[in-house]
């Protein structure tokens, strides 16, 4: 039990460092992107010279990079992530409003994709033969060749739920990994020995193959969350689902740099946290006697 704490501590520290690094990286990119510091309010003829000067001095303060970072992180620590330029609303409010929709879609999508991938990989292993192999190869090959935006359009046309579109995009990738992991585990000497003793295929699968593949499956779970977040952008944008993905697309289309920067930070935090959690869980599974 004691030996878990240093590992957990290291994970949390690396999570914090990676998040700060991701924040600095995205803030730097925004700071040096073309057009940074330009404000359309300066063009408003109704504003007086002193008002325009005040706007310019507001941007001039951010010219010092260190001051810019300190200001950004100090405000972020107090929950102030700035204001969206295109929507003219606090970013924290926008994110709080939209995060639940994306979290729900991503979690349901990942759960559906995993369930289907595990069932099909398991069936493929238990019922070996050319038909399951060829049919799954054709299905997976077809799904892998579809751009996620096309899947989104198909679901928009069919009025299908967003989480199912996410599941269709990530399922083939998960399936390929799970199938390979199961095949590899199935070739292990202890599994062959179990088969030689006459233990049934289902029992071998449940008691020997799955435990052997469990650590790698746990690690894959973290990656699949990251994949789902990536797929959420085109799917939410095209299916008009009010989530973080749609917000990211809207921010990109409108070149709303503060919003892009903060969304990058949030996605970094979520994906690094899920990867760390999955990595930590997979280590725990390996340590089981």
């Amino acid at each position: 039990m004691k030996s878990w704490f240093p590992t957990l501590g290291q994970r949390l520290l690396s999570l914090l460092l990676l998040t700060i690094l991701g924040g600095i990286l995205s803030a730097t990119l925004v700071r040096f992107s073309p057009g940074y510091g330009m404000d359309v309010r300066e063009l408003d003829p109704r504003l007086s010279e002193s008002s325009v000067e005040a706007i310019r001095s507001e941007h001039h303060q951010d010219a010092n990079l260190i001051r810019y970072y300190v200001k950004y992180f100090a405000a972020a620590a107090h929950g102030d992530f700035g204001v969206s330029e295109s929507l003219d609303r606090p970013i924290a409010e926008l994110v709080t409003e939209r995060l639940p929709a994306t979290a729900r879609s991503v979690l349901l999508g990942v759960a559906s994709a995993w369930s289907l991938a595990l069932v099909l990989s398991g069936l493929g292993l238990v019922a070996k033969g050319w038909f399951p192999e060829v049919s799954s190869a054709v299905l997976i090959g077809f799904l892998l060749s579809l751009p996620s935006a096309v899947v989104a359009l198909a679901f928009l046309y069919l009025r299908g739920p967003v989480f199912l579109a996410l599941a269709v995009v990530i399922f083939p990738k998960i399936f390929r990994f799970t199938r390979n992991l199961f095949l590899h585990a199935d070739d292990q000497p202890h599994v062959l020995a179990a088969r030689a003793r006459g233990i049934g295929s289902c029992r071998v699968f449940l008691h020997h193959v799955i435990p052997s593949a469990a650590p790698a499956l746990m690690a894959l779970l973290g990656i699949s969350l990251s994949m789902a977040f990536g797929a959420a952008i085109p799917i939410e944008a095209l299916c008009d689902s009010p989530g973080i993905g749609q917000l990211a697309w809207y921010a990109a289309i409108n070149r709303d740099l503060p919003l892009v920067m903060n969304l990058t930070l949030i996605v970094t935090l979520v994906t690094v946290a899920s990867n760390s959690l999955a990595g930590f869980s997979s280590r725990l599974v390996v340590r089981q006697p």
Partner: protein, 271 residues
């Protein structure tokens, strides 16, 4: 001949045919991809326009062939860039170890933590949206090439590390071979198949990423055609049901990506 080998040969023949058609676009169709037949918007297929025209009256076959040329040739260019970066960084990390290895792998881990599409969209947002079509093409494929290396790097690093610990390299080192000779004569020839596989598996990934980016309006800009731009026509469902031949770009895209997958298995299968 095994089924897999036959499938690979058929896939290679199809890819070669598509490539030849794209190269000879000017010979196959007499029209420019941007020329508008203003009196023929949404025209049905005819002898003059084999795939009909789009809502702006542009010949769809011309746009498809020139779009194929762009997507099919620039995706390998981006894949080459990715493979070079992955080969260089993965080679250095695997061969030298120590802090080089830790630093490069930490950067790769950070890059892999973020979804590629999200990073592409975030970076694209940093650039002005009203760039010229040519710059949009270069920016799109350059971003793909510069951001797609982390997963390939992991594979190259693992291979280089196994080469570093191999008996033949130890023998060459003990025989007094210089570092340059070790890299050129022993490491690089053994890395070549891995680099080739990484190059090949990156191509369909980049084709699909470009399609999604262009469909979202953040990739290749009009009037230049690309597969992604052509797929934007799918957003109009009523037009698709009335003119099903509008699905031809999607069919071609799926066919080409499947061919790439058949010739080389995906990253997961290689791993």
């Amino acid at each position: 001949m095994s089924v897999k080998r036959s499938a690979r040969i058929i896939a290679a023949v199809i890819l070669a045919m598509v490539t030849l058609l794209a190269l000879g676009a000017g010979l196959v169709t007499p029209y420019s991809y941007a020329y508008q037949f203003r009196d023929l918007p949404q025209a049905a297929p005819s002898s003059a326009h084999l795939l009909g025209t789009d809502p702006l009256g542009r010949d769809l076959l011309s746009r498809l062939l020139y779009g194929t040329r762009l997507s099919l040739f620039l995706a390998p260019a981006a894949a080459l860039l990715t493979t070079l970066i992955a080969g260089l960084l993965g080679g250095v990390a695997g061969l030298f170890g120590g802090w080089h290895e830790r630093f490069i792998l930490a950067i790769a881990d950070l890059s892999m933590a973020l979804p590629l599409l999200f990073v592409l969209i975030a970076l694209r947002a940093m650039l002005p949206l009203d760039v010229s079509p040519l710059i949009s093409v270069v920016a799109t494929f350059l971003m793909l090439g510069l951001l797609g290396w982390p997963s390939s790097l992991r594979v190259v690093w693992a291979t280089t590390r196994s080469i570093r610990e191999s008996d033949f390299l130890l023998l060459a080192r003990s025989s007094g071979s210089t570092s340059i000779r070790l890299i050129l004569r022993h490491v690089f020839p053994n890395l070549r198949p891995v680099l080739l596989a990484q190059f090949w598996v990156s191509i369909p990934v980049f084709i699909l990423a470009e399609s999604t980016l262009s469909m979202l309006g953040l990739g290749v800009m009009e009037p230049l055609p690309s597969w992604g731009n052509l797929l934007r026509g799918l957003e109009n469902f009523s037009a698709i049901s009335a003119n099903p031949w509008r699905l031809v770009p999607l069919v071609l895209l799926i066919m080409v990506v499947v061919c790439f997958q058949l010739i080389f298995p995906a990253q997961e299968d290689l791993a």
